[in-house]
Symmetry: C2
Subunit: 153 residues, 2 copies
DNA sequence: CCCTATTATCTCGCTGAGCGAGATACTCGC
DNA sequence: GCGAGTATCTCGCTCAGCGAGATAATAGGG
């Protein structure tokens, strides 16, 4: 066994964090009778909401890696549970806008709020340069993971 | 809308990273005709391997949040694909040890290697104190996510 | 030792998420 | 207003994961 590089500790920690966060979402899902995909969908929808972007059925499916049939089923499920509403887009009536219900937002905040608050608290414990390092690192990892397909740059 | 706290940027980045890494695993899965759960299982198995711990069917299922029936089906799938072997434990012959095939390890390294290498490279770009901050932050987040259930401490 | 309780895994039958193929509804350029 | 293109939906199917219960092995009290 080759002597392990010390940088690998960060790699393993990173993976452990994603696993742990995934399990946390799964707890939210099962507690509310939802499936992991539904939670991912709600998160994507709330992201769009925060960025003030309209979310259509198609864009949602693409973000989650579903095909159109699966997307329809997903939205059906969320709509049946009262978490979202379908609204025909006025400019292009082929599109279906998906709007998150206020109650679903509150549900999410009630569950994820404590964890988010804890992370905010953690961040406050670091000085400016340390926070910059954390922010830079996370941003670069996101970048790297998104582009990790094509072998060449 | 209340003025957003600046610490929230880190929270959103963190979530974006987990989403991106999740999609990356999903690409690995679909490229090799596997399901997301199978990839999570292989990761858990390789983790155990690195830590020199034996992994049984039961422990694997628990780590992934599957019940016994689902776990059996999962191991069947992985075994059929040649990624793992079932081995009866000698000390307690009720247990079934799951061993990862060397070829599956190589498959994973071939796919995740570039991304891991990129992250190692990134880490090298930070000085000691910055790396300590990143490591500390990730460790604390993992902790927080794992304990985020019980409201009181 | 045997008998019972306990633990680990597997089998069976079922539900439902997500897929491929193709239908339907709407838009846009000609 | 017709044909090509785009967004979503419908249908039928496959298979991941669940609940219930069977099977196999161990542990302990008598």
């Amino acid at each position: 066994m080759p002597s392990p590089e010390p940088e690998m500790e960060i790699v393993h920690l990173l993976r452990a964090v994603t696993v742990e966060l995934g399990l946390h979402s799964a707890r939210f899902a099962s507690r509310h009778g939802m499936h992991p995909t539904d939670v991912r969908a709600l998160i994507a929808l709330m992201d769009a909401r925060r960025a003030d972007e309209e979310m259509t059925a198609g864009r949602l499916g693409a973000a989650l890696g579903l095909n159109s049939a699966g997307t329809t089923a997903l939205v059906d499920r969320l709509e049946r549970a009262g978490h979202v509403r379908r609204v025909r887009a006025e400019e292009d009536r082929r599109k279906v806008l998906i709007e998150v219900d206020e109650r679903a937002v509150e549900l999410g905040q009630a569950f994820f709020g404590p964890l988010i608050g804890r992370v905010v608290e953690l961040v406050r414990g670091y000085d400016e340069r340390e926070v910059a390092a954390i922010r830079g690192f996370l941003g670069e990892v996101r970048e790297a993971a998104g582009e990790a397909d094509r072998p060449a740059r």
